[in-house]
Amino acid sequence: MTDTFYDVMRRQGITRRSFLKFCSLTAAAMGLSPIYASKIAHAMENKPRIPVLWLHGLECTCCSESFIRSGHPLAKDVILSMISLDYDSVIMASAGHEAEAIVDEVIAEHKGKYILACEGNPGLEQDVTGGMSCIVGGKPYTAQLRAAAKDAMAIISWGSCASWGCVQAAKPNPTGATPIHKVPDIGNAPIIKVPGCPPIAEVMTAVITYMLTFEQLPTLDRQGRPKMFYSQRIHDKCYRRPHFDAGQFVEQWDDEGARQGYCLYKMGCKGPTTYNACSTIRWNGGLSFPIQSGHPCIGCSEDGFWDKGGFYDRLSDINQFGIESNADEIGMGAAGLVGGAVAAHAAVSALKRTQQKGDEE
């Protein structure tokens, strides 16, 4: 029988005390009542750990970086070592044919029982042109992904790459980078999106913990994100929200408002349109998050955030007109044209009418 999470954790030298702290923190992060902390502990002590294959496609490893820098030692030591026990090409110590063989081994041994964690996405141009980009162990990544996805119990799309496409899918998307759920022949495994560039470490561990504890997928919203972390906007829980409601904004980076910690709305903050848990869970062990450090949210967990114009513009660019301009610029242009046309038409109408009157007399 496979080890439990608790076995792995004790081997890592984690005390029972900090193990229980992890359980209650996770329960709180998932919005569960305190009683669930013991249920989580029970599950971690008794259930065999779920094998996880962690595959890397086109990406920057920021999801892994976020994960291993988790403020909570258990997230790093327990969950991560659990994962690296199976396969993670970026952080596992082994390499070569034996390491690559683990993928096939896990698929064969745990058919339908393992989780496929995807960091990054495939470049589908591989399918079309047979291009040699993103080769893992001598094979195109698309092949490895499809093989692993076919028999997975569930797929976790880590980060905005796997969830939406992210920077490598920005126009004109030369590699055909495509989010996991849009890859043809990906199979029928349910896909959980955990977007963010990167996602918050506590969110990542909580998603795995939830699946282990309750042996089911977390409740997902219509876009496939766990509701417990992605059901509210940054704006809804932002500590600068009172300044927004009061109409107090940072107008320039070095103004008094910036020093006073006013709302960053006018600096292009995407908090009002971004669903994530940054303003509640925060980063680096709850230390801070972008807005707290004085920088607007860039909306990194939202679909298409990379193609919406400047991060520091309130209004998005509309590119359909060939030039970059926002709704106001286009709208005012249109209104100006209509106004001009109306004035010209009125003038001609008046002229015609005078003419007709003259004819009559």
Partner: protein, 237 residues
């Protein structure tokens, strides 16, 4: 051109717009103005207020007015749909352009020529002229629907999961557009379509009042359509 407004005639006036419809028209017009102004200031807020945050609630008030006007606008539109059934035949015209009627398209063409100064005289209508029906159907009815649906989808984001606004609107509109910011951009851009419509609408109403063969502006105030000549009308009523 033989007849003009100055010539005496005895064409009877026709009661076209009933009181509830007229009231809706002006409430709707007022709410559109309020929505455009407050909406613009939500997208591009006024200069920063100084002092303590607890002393001000400017953005809050602007948003409150926007949401209230939005409700009035939406409820008004629902009433307008109801009135299409409950009101007289002219109340239905806005929602059903007779697009399968060749003669009606002929009317659209004639009215278009009238606007390009290619014909000497417009036709005479008790209801709207065909071009007006077409323009209002496309640029008013559908734009209003679009603004109500996207508006409530954005509002539902604030009221949150399990609110009826979220369930009815946000839950499907936001994924349809991609993400919340896209819905904002569209809601914002289409506001300008609405502004263009209002500009044309006001201009045309005044121009028709002066140059066509029937009354326009006063009709939306009193309800009575009066005529400037006593030849027969062209819309078969």
């Amino acid at each position: 051109m033989t007849t003009m407004a100055t010539k005496p005639h005895n064409e009877p006036a026709v009661y076209v717009y009933e009181a509830p419809l007229r009231l809706w028209h002006w409430i709707n017009a007022f709410s559109i103005i309020v929505l455009c102004v407050t909406g613009y200031f939500i997208g591009s807020p006024l200069p920063t207020m100084s002092g303590e945050a607890s002393d001000h609630y400017l953005m809050g008030y602007i948003r409150f007015v926007h949401f209230t006007a939005g409700y009035i606008f939406a409820i008004g539109f629902l009433f307008r749909i109801y009135w299409a059934f409950a009101g007289n035949e002219h109340a239905r015209q806005l929602f059903m352009p007779p697009i399968f009627n060749r003669e009606w398209w002929g009317g659209v063409w004639h009215e278009t020529k009238w606007y390009f100064f290619l014909t000497k005289e417009p036709r005479k209508y008790i209801g709207h002229n065909p071009l007006a029906v077409l323009a209002m159907y496309i640029l008013f009815v559908w734009i209003v629907l679009f603004m109500i649906v996207t508006g409530f989808a954005l509002y539902g984001e604030g009221t949150g999961y399990d609110s009826w606004q979220y369930t009815l609107f946000s839950s499907w509109v936001i994924p349809l557009f991609g993400q919340s910011q896209d819905v904002h951009t569209w809601h914002h851009a289409v506001m300008w379509v609405m502004i263009c419509f209002v500009m044309i609408h006001v201009y045309v109403a005044i121009r028709e009042d002066i140059m066509s063969r029937q009354s326009l502006v006063s009709t939306m105030i009193s309800g009575w359509r009066t005529f400037k000549d006593n030849r027969s009308v062209d819309d078969g009523h």
